[in-house]
């Protein structure tokens, strides 16, 4: 069978195109590009909505050691600065998570000064699946878990920098519940005493977290006190810190499972 000369001339390029298409079809698909995260622009600037882009390809946790540099935070145990304790907690928790295969991004690794915008920028650029801001105080007792007081808002194409968290508040509340549950189980497993570590949940304006486009909570560690409000366990107590960090690591592993199964979706 003979084809016209015109058809024979087109056959070679067509065959090359078909071969190239076949090779491309066998290539493994690339992971989706990370989300466009908002940058700490002036208050009037806007940020892309988290729902405008595909979900991150992998689970990344961001650990934010509060204060640092010129900002020492609270004075704990008479002489220890809050910035020192939060940095130590961040480093230890990062090690615990890394040992369990959880990628971690920290906002600071040394005694550097960071403002709330820089912390939110780190979390947003990391496309974090969870962000824990670690604090410590001499006031109160037990663990205080805070989420942003912003009202949940439907996803929009653009979000204001100072209220970017509003589209993520529901998921932040869910993350707080997971952390609370892990801390509850931790105290029951370790001491068997139902009143071992008082845990309080609250919502409050938090300038750094309010700008984050990820599930984000602040965890404030306070000393343990007896009925007469006398301190029985300081924040700097290694065993106390270890119990809390183990619980936080377990909570993030649970959260990762939920994340991978899509349970984090609103």
């Amino acid at each position: 069978m003979r084809f016209p000369a015109k058809t024979r001339a087109l056959a070679a390029p067509l065959a090359a195109l078909a071969l190239a298409a076949g090779l491309l079809a066998q290539q493994p698909s690339k992971p989706p590009a990370p989300r466009a995260a908002p940058t700490p622009a002036p208050a009037t600037a806007t940020a892309p909505a988290p729902h405008a882009a595909p979900q991150p390809a992998r689970f990344v946790a961001v650990l934010d050691a509060a204060h640092g540099g010129d900002d020492a935070g609270a004075q704990l145990d008479g002489s220890t600065a809050e910035k020192t304790v939060t940095l130590a907690l961040s480093v230890r928790l990062r090690s615990l998570l890394a040992a369990r295969g959880v990628p971690v991004v920290t906002t600071r690794e040394d005694n550097s000064t960071l403002d709330s915008d820089a912390r939110a920028q780190t979390a947003n650029h990391a496309s974090a699946a969870a962000c824990l801001s670690l604090h410590a105080t001499e006031s109160g007792t037990g663990i205080h878990i805070f989420t942003s007081s912003l009202m949940p808002a439907p996803p929009q194409r653009f979000l204001a920098w100072k209220t970017a968290q509003s589209a993520w508040v529901s998921r932040s509340l869910r993350l707080a519940a997971v952390v609370n549950s892990a801390l509850q189980q931790s105290r029951q497993a370790d001491s068997g005493d139902a009143s071992a570590i008082p845990i309080a949940l609250a919502r409050t304006p938090l300038p750094g977290i309010d700008s984050m486009t990820c599930p984000a909570i602040a965890i404030e560690i306070s000393p343990l006190r007896d009925a007469n409000r006398k301190v029985t366990t300081e924040v700097t107590d290694p065993a106390y810190q270890s119990q809390i960090l183990q619980a936080l690591a377990a909570a993030l592993l649970t959260w990762r499972t939920d994340w991978q199964t899509g349970a984090h979706q609103p």
Binding site: H67, A74, T137, S139, T147, A177, P198, T204, P205, E220
Partner: protein, 232 residues
């Protein structure tokens, strides 16, 4: 020969000089008499003060992170701004006690001023006061919504304990105390020594306007965690 007009002017000046001398001597005598009567003008009776009234302080508790109401009786001025300041002074004096449920360092004068400014937004009109539960509250049915600008002193702010919960409870208890006693106050802003300050002691945001309804609607600002991990 002295001109006539110079003679007239001379006698006129002489009369004025004599009159001024008489007045000066008389004033000196009066000052001396006042000095001699000094002990007589010393106060012999207490000045009249406002009657003691019942007021509600919304007091924070660090142990469980809650706010609770406490009735107190204290003399309050009639002016709303001075009244608000007196209430806050009483609240913060309450916190300065070592036995307080929300201990703060004692500052000699924690609140410099409280300014009340009208809010023009019709959406934030003052709520109707509940006469059944707040008999002591002044009738402000027709009062327009107000913004309270609380000017704290740096002595108080610098001495405040650092922590998310303790700072949040201080701010919320101030907002709730103002609103419960002066329902027209629906928004509160904070200054420190007359200037805007980023935060109270490292955490509580003082650059934003706080809605008093948020503090009053949820008396327990933070709640002990339920064992099942649920959160509202």
């Amino acid at each position: 020969m002295i001109p006539r007009y110079q003679k007239v002017l001379f006698f006129l000046l002489l009369v004025v000089s004599i009159a001024m001398t008489v007045i000066l001597v008389r004033l000196r005598e009066q000052a001396h008499e006042r000095l001699l009567r000094g002990e007589d003008i010393a106060p012999t009776s207490a000045p009249a003060v406002a009657d003691a009234e019942q007021a509600t302080l919304v007091v924070a508790n660090d142990a469980d992170g809650t706010l609770s109401s406490q009735l107190v009786s204290l003399p309050l001025p009639k002016d709303d701004g001075a009244r608000a300041r007196a209430l806050l002074e009483k609240l913060l004096e309450f916190y300065s006690s070592p036995q307080s449920s929300h201990p703060l360092s004692a500052a000699e004068r924690p609140v410099a001023q409280v300014f009340l400014l009208p809010i023009n937004d019709p959406k934030t009109d003052a709520p109707q006061s509940d006469s059944t539960s707040r008999g002591q509250i002044r009738d402000t049915h027709a009062a327009p919504a107000q913004l309270a600008v609380v000017n704290l002193t740096s002595a108080f702010a610098d001495g405040h304990p650092s922590g998310i919960q303790t700072e949040m409870l201080t701010v919320l208890s101030i907002c709730a105390t103002l609103h419960v006693n002066l329902p027209a106050i629906t928004q509160v802003r904070f200054l420190v020594d007359g200037a805007e300050r980023k935060n109270l002691a490292g955490h509580a945001d003082l650059t934003r306007t706080y809605l008093t309804a948020e503090a009053v609607a949820i008396p327990a600002a933070s709640t002990p965690a339920p064992s099942n991990g649920a959160i509202q």
